[in-house]
Amino acid sequence: MKKVMTGHKAVAEAMRQIEPDVVAVYPITPQSEIAEYYAQYVADGIVHTELVPVESEHSAMSACVGAAAAGARVMTATASQGLALMIEILYIAASMRLPIVMALANRALSGPINIHCDHSDAYLARDSGAVQIFAESAQEAYDYMIMAQKLAEHKEVRLPVIVNLDGFTLTHSAQVVEPLEDAQVKEFVGEYEPIYPLLDVDNPSTWGPFAMPDYYFELKRAQQAAMEAVPEVFLSVQEEYAKLSGRPYKGLFEPYKLEDAERVLVVMGSTAGTAKVAVDELRAKGEKVGLLKVWLWRPFPREEIASALEGAKVVAVLDRAFSFGNMGALYLDITSALMHRERRPIVVNYIYGLGGRDTSTEQLIQVLQEIKDAQPGEGLRYLGLRE
């Protein structure tokens, strides 16, 4: 049944339906309502979850690590500075192959302090070893929270999974969301089967040992293998979920009017919605434009994205965060994926939307038009910036 709800509520509902054993969470704008909704479910006794109302995000991720290693199904949520405080332990969670699912209500990193959306927090976790998925809408945030659980726990994967949803734009705006039935979600995620749980006291295991130069490298290589296993599992989870929900999840990214497109936008998150309108308006005028919306950002689907973009003339990659001192991180992902292709579009890079700066349909139409004259090897362009 379709309902009107905020992104917060959609994420919290997905969490309630999954009903993890442990939720360790610390409130931060714009994530707080997720923690508040979940605390209410616990207070009302409608979930068996142990809520660990920690004193910091560092402890949130630490408690998640302890609980996940113990053998529990574990979730959390954070944003911005909260992720920054967690980051030390997020790396450890990934190295321990712990399937912790986290909603990240994307918010600009300080400083200056700012509570609004950009992707600098997600970029901070880029190399952490966590899988990262971007949602365009509250519906996608809901759906991917459920799919993330299954992806994270797959025995070939067993990694933390971050579901990114744009702060305020998605977390606080009311949208139409069609949730599944509780029983459908329970059946989809299934019983969690932990590996070497700490609570199996008859078969004691040592978690988080000390590795010297003689072993560290091989252990990290094994972690990379887990990341490499993600795309295939992601696709199979999507397929199963698409059947269940009737929603068209198919692919590591969403192509929008891409097949014959000469000029293409690449974006992550809620801006994809605006970009679709921009594409539609120009298509109505007969212009061959399209959009590639990234769903799975880490691991980065290099070959699939390169194949989807190689036929275009010009690609505009929109990065919603700086990678200071270089081009944007998404631009680097895409250009490096394309570099060994025979056919290579010109790729330009826009930095946009920092600290919650709004991006309009008109601006994206302008991007799609002005990139006609783009030259190879340009430096950064800025969208919506007062120079």
Binding site: S62, C64, L198, L199, A211, M212
Partner: protein
């Protein structure tokens, strides 16, 4: 209370902490860890902060731990064990966990007094059912004897060295035991490697309670304190006999000193055998500083006696 016989029998029967680790000769930590684990009857899960104990016992692919054990980072042993305990509670609620399991965290003074204080305070306030054991060797020994907030005043450490202008660490140590007690948890105690039966008794009393428990154990580091490796128990005993490190407990708010020296020894007896205080014995100024340390020890001891009088019944 567990007798030596009981402890020895448990050590033989179940060997929770095996040999083969690479802790230094004379290090107090294995004695403390074995005593704590043997004093607990039920199965345990252990969380360990980064530090000597962790690096010396789990060099991949080996482990000395014959109980489930987890290390995550330096400052989060309390939050980590809190997560393990929360998982246990949740799984019990849905009938996936039958056994009674107890939870123990081991962390050094650096991982507790300094970088892990917030994590510990949070876990104490939330009331998780666990025992937190501080292996207090009064500095960052694992990384080369840097000062911590447990390092005693005027001790020499590599980041508070003795110099021409400053004779060692100028600040007083923090009173972690009292900070833990201020959380009004069921059981908080101070113990020492020199009094292992006292430690075992404290662990057993602590484990009667559901909820957080903290035991701060003085743990000799021969390397950092600059004492002979075969004197680590003897030296720790002098800390107790001088009342520099009183053995006491706060059980449900009631203070009890578990060992009162018949004759309190002067602080010099504790300071003198240790290389880290040697400079204090080489100058007139040093003598003054020792006298100040004596005054501080006396004041704290009197305070403790008063707390005991005020909180005991009858």
């Amino acid at each position: 209370m567990p007798s030596i016989k009981v402890l020895a029998k448990r050590e033989e029967e179940r060997v929770r902490f095996t040999g083969g680790h690479s802790l230094c000769a004379g290090c107090a930590e294995p004695m403390i860890v074995r005593t704590v684990l043997n004093a607990i009857e039920e199965p345990v899960v252990v969380a360990n902060a980064t530090g000597c104990l962790e690096v010396a016992t789990t060099r991949y692919p080996t482990t000395v731990w014959n109980v489930p054990w987890i290390h995550s980072a330096f400052e989060n042993a309390a939050a980590t064990i809190a997560g393990v305990e929360a998982a246990y509670k949740a799984l019990r609620k849905i009938g996936k966990m039958e056994k009674r399991i107890r939870f123990v965290a081991f962390a050094g003074d650096g991982g507790t007094y300094d970088i892990g204080l917030q994590s510990l305070s949070g876990a104490l306030e939330r009331g998780h059912d666990f025992l937190y054991v501080v292996l207090n060797n009064e500095a960052y020994m694992n990384t080369g004897v840097q000062r911590s907030s447990a390092t005693p005043r005027w001790a020499s450490a590599t980041t508070s060295p003795v110099g021409k202008a400053i004779p060692g660490k100028p600040q007083d140590r923090k009173d972690l035991t009292e900070i833990a007690a201020a959380h009004h948890v069921a059981y908080v105690a101070q113990a020492s490697v020199s009094h292992l039966i006292d430690l075992a008794n404290k662990v057993e009393r602590a484990m009667k309670y559901e909820g957080p428990k903290v035991i701060n154990v003085l743990s000799t580091c021969p390397l950092g304190w600059r004492v002979p490796w075969d004197k680590s128990v003897e030296i720790a005993k002098l800390a107790v006999e001088t009342c520099y490190w009183p053995l006491y407990e706060v059980e449900q708010g009631r203070y009890r000193i578990t060992y009162k020296p018949r004759k309190k020894l002067p602080i010099e007896e504790w300071l003198k055998p240790q290389g880290r205080f040697r400079h204090l014995f080489k100058s007139e100024k040093g003598k003054e500083l020792i006298a100040e340390l004596q005054t501080a020890v006396d004041r704290h001891w009197e305070e403790l006696l008063m707390k005991e009088r005020c909180t005991q019944e009858g």
